[in-house]
């Protein structure tokens, strides 16, 4: 885990929230690479969207070059804004960036706001029963 600035969205996260997070990030970082916190899983954002990773702590790198830079040098002045740390907990989503007033900081802020707005949009519509007819005598 790195130090930095935390952005947190409260509420129980759903798989849909993670999907929204990744789809929004894809707009800004189309070549994004996800790495699970334990390093066991590394995948492109496309593959994660396709296969739905169940990992709850992961790093999102802007691209492969950013990941390599982090692997080789750790945090540097150049790559600090090219990685976001994510924690999906039971009752919050936390995204950590190197600096609050950075490009990644603004992206994260907008992503969490987007998830927050979306959460209440969809609700299950009660089923409608198929019309039936029968002969009656009045």
């Amino acid at each position: 885990m790195i130090g930095g600035f935390e952005f947190e969205l409260g509420g129980t996260p759903s798989p849909d929230d993670v999907g929204r997070l990744l789809r929004l990030l894809r707009v800004k970082w189309p070549a994004c690479i996800l790495e699970s916190a334990d390093g066991a899983v590394t995948a492109t954002i496309q593959d994660v969207l396709r296969n739905r990773s169940s990992t709850s702590q992961f790093f999102l790198y802007r691209d492969l070059a950013a990941k390599r830079s982090w692997d080789e040098h750790g945090l540097t002045e150049e790559n600090g804004d090219a990685m976001i740390s994510v924690i999906i907990d039971e009752d919050f989503i936390m995204m950590i960036v190197n600096a609050q007033d950075s490009v990644s900081g603004h992206i994260v802020k907008e992503i969490l706001q987007g998830i927050h707005t979306c959460r209440n949009v969809n609700r299950l519509v009660p089923p409608s029963y198929a019309p039936k007819s029968q002969q009656v005598t009045i």
Binding site: L24, V27, P30, R50, N122
Partner: protein
């Protein structure tokens, strides 16, 4: 009820649309319902093959059996009168494709027109068209967001129970 019908009924139940099979009548029993849905799935497979001829896909039924959670919104679509091209569009989005364009127009008691373009990361894109009013339902499932004050409409989401 045939065993394969029971599997489909279970998938629909866990996707909050179990009523599709629970409402089976004497005229259309559960096996007939399953047959009708499978015929629709077959059309969706054809639409996917037509839209993305170079891209290998699992068949729809295989996909929903493999991961009913990921494909829950598609299972819900099979519980509504959404046409095969729109179901194919839903499949592609759930498979990771990005929604790149939506055009919608409506004239009261005259016409409805819906055009949806989706694109995979490989650049393969397809536009799905409909003039069926029921297909407008799909618009309610998209993730509508903003990034940098610009619109992002992407992702396709299931209806959830209000208590969730």
């Amino acid at each position: 009820m045939k065993p394969e019908t029971a599997i489909l009924a279970t998938l629909f139940a866990v996707s909050d649309v179990g009523w599709v099979f629970e409402q089976a009548t004497s005229e259309e029993g559960p096996d007939q319902v399953a047959e009708r849905i499978r015929a629709h799935m077959s059309k969706v497979n054809q639409e996917m093959a037509k839209a993305f001829p170079l891209r290998p896909h699992l068949l729809v039924e295989e996909s929903i059996r493999t991961d009913s959670s990921q494909f829950k919104p598609l299972i819900q679509a099979f519980a509504s009168p959404v046409t095969a091209p729109m179901c194919a569009m839903i499949y592609a989005v759930l498979d990771g494709a990005e929604v790149t364009a939506i055009e919608f127009s409506y004239k009261a008691r005259e016409s409805v027109s819906l055009s949806l373009t989706v694109q995979y990361e490989t650049g393969e894109a397809a536009t799905f068209l409909s003039d069926d009013a029921w297909d407008v339902e799909v618009l309610r499932h998209f993730g509508i967001m903003k990034l940098g004050n610009k619109p992002v409409i992407d992702g396709y989401y299931a209806f959830r129970k209000a208590a969730e």
